[in-house]
């Protein structure tokens, strides 16, 4: 973002819909990582 801006983007979040569920992630969700 601009240095003189009023808003600072800390994380530009995102896409996984395009990925079919592979099931390889660990069962326990925001703390989980993708199994791919």
């Amino acid at each position: 973002m601009k240095k003189t801006g009023h808003i600072r983007t800390i994380v530009a979040g995102s896409k996984p819909l395009l990925t079919p569920e592979c099931g390889d992630c660990q069962t326990s969700v925001g703390n989980q990582t993708c199994g791919i």
């Binding site: 801006g5 009023h6 808003i7 800390i10 994380v11 979040g13 592979c22 969700v29 925001g30």
Partner: protein, 465 residues
């Protein structure tokens, strides 16, 4: 116009944050942007909010802030439209991929807040080898997954060390083409050098129970004879940290109404050498004096903010501590289906009781109305299993509009069904337990603040009011 339900505003200590629900983006706002979005939150009228904000902060600043909001919206990072995931319908797969083996209902401790039903604890059952083998055969037969997980749980699982060793050997022998992940949850009293070597040899993940400061730990975590265990657990942990640096582990504790200053317990555990810590809210009958209540939530939220700052201060001093629930992967993370279905209890993950009974997860063991079947006959309650499969975020009215829905996954089924541990009438898989929701929301606010603190304030950005 934009839907404000899709943005969560968070004031954490001296920082003002905006979390975009549908993109997972996180922003820090200065006083002008914060004031503008607060006005919009109250009125729902963007143009009017811009005019009102201009009266308060000046036309030039508000016009610039409004332009930034609109640019972020165009870029898909603020007021992002709903991604349409409500059309999600659970398919038949993926199938079973993890088992929790209750290898010992017996325990060498008698913790005051234990969630295991009393009749299960007093039964003191040990899972025999034939049940362990049958459970692993069931997993192999039920699952096409390459990655399979087995958690040895109790009670205290190390009261059945022979069973654990037999289970590991049997799994590796019968499933040599599978990638096995073993975990062990232990109170550490029996975690000696021999056990440590075994877990290292087989790449176990460990969950080591300790609540923190000795006075806190010894409030609840007592031997069967009523003696405190803090001193021996501290020694076990320190021995382990010296020996097994690098092994996947978490020191896992419980906080209750009696230690809402739990940052001090994280500080104590870090002092012992712990670098991976998880502290979680107690699951208890609301009538218990140590149970958490909704009136505690503001204090708990502030404590999570305090914990976030403590962890960042430690990092500045060269000591990185992983607090499990603060580890959010906003740019990546799991796929949509995983985000909507949560833990997978009941169909991807099952618990096995010592008698071979199958349950949706370890918290349902001892609740016969939730028994799904047994190892001899297989799943005998496919209707109940289907209820768990269908209990996704968009099937729960309370979750559909919750700002945390894609980070939470719909809440704990056991807490919903058992209404927080009290087995209250009206518990339902379709309705998350309200107190648990508020605790998760407060913790997620802390996690987002932790992320924000990892980024230094940018030059030229006014500190937020």
């Amino acid at each position: 116009m934009w839907n404000f339900q899709e943005v969560k505003l968070i004031q954490a200590e001296d920082r003002c944050l905006a979390f975009d629900v549908n993109s997972g983006s996180l922003h820090e706002l200065d006083a002008v942007a914060w004031g503008l979005l607060r006005l919009f939150q109250d009125s729902g009228d963007w143009r009017q909010s811009v005019r009102d904000a201009a009266q308060l902060y000046g036309q030039e600043k508000v016009s610039a802030a409004a332009a930034e909001v609109e640019a972020l919206h165009e870029a898909g990072h603020l007021f992002t439209p709903d991604p349409g995931w409500e059309r999600y319908a659970p398919g038949p797969g993926p199938d079973l991929k993890a088992l929790c083996l209750n290898v010992s209902h017996d325990c060498n401790m008698s913790c005051g807040y234990c969630f295991v039903p009393g009749q299960v604890r007093t039964g003191r059952e040990i899972m025999p080898g034939r049940v362990i083998r049958a459970a692993l055969d069931f997993l192999l037969k039920s699952s096409s997954h390459r990655h399979l997980a087995v958690d040895f749980f109790g009670g205290e699982p190390l009261l059945n060390q022979a069973g654990i060793r037999e289970g590991v050997a049997y799994a590796l022998d019968r499933g040599p083409d599978r990638n096995w992940k073993f975990t062990l949850t232990t109170n550490t009293l029996l975690f000696d050098d021999d056990v440590c070597s075994f877990t290292l040899d087989h790449n176990f993940g460990l969950v080591l129970s300790c609540d923190g400061r000795p006075a806190v730990h010894d409030t609840f975590r007592l031997t069967v004879g009523g003696r405190g265990t803090a001193a021996v657990v501290a020694r076990r942990l320190q021995d382990y940290f010296q020996r097994a640096a690098g092994q996947e582990h978490y020191v896992r504790g419980t906080y209750t109404r009696r230690n809402l200053d739990f940052t001090e317990d994280v500080r104590y555990l870090a002092g012992l050498g712990a670098r991976s810590i998880s502290l979680e809210p107690v699951v208890a009958d609301p009538e218990q004096p140590f149970a958490l209540h909704e009136e505690d939530i503001p204090r708990i939220r502030e404590e999570y903010f305090r914990l976030a700052r403590f962890l960042r201060d430690q990092e500045q001093a060269g000591c990185r501590i992983s607090f499990y629930h603060f580890q959010l992967d906003l740019p990546g993370g799991p796929c949509a289906a995983k985000r909507l279905t949560g833990c997978g209890a009941g169909y991807q993950y099952l618990a096995v009781a010592p008698d071979g009974g199958l349950y949706p997860c370890h918290q349902f063991v001892g609740h016969p109305e939730y028994c799904l079947g047994d190892l001899d006959r297989g799943i005998k309650r496919p209707d109940l299993q289907e209820q768990f499969r269908q209990a996704h975020v968009f099937a729960k009215p309370a979750c559909r509009s919750c700002w945390a829905r894609f980070l939470c996954g719909g809440g704990c089924h056991a807490q919903a069904a058992l209404a927080g541990g009290a087995s209250l009438p009206g518990g339902s898989l379709g309705r998350p337990y309200s107190l648990a929701c508020k605790l998760v929301q407060a913790r997620l606010e802390g996690a987002l603040y932790y992320l924000a603190l990892g980024e230094p304030l940018q030059e030229g950005t006014e500190p937020a009011a």
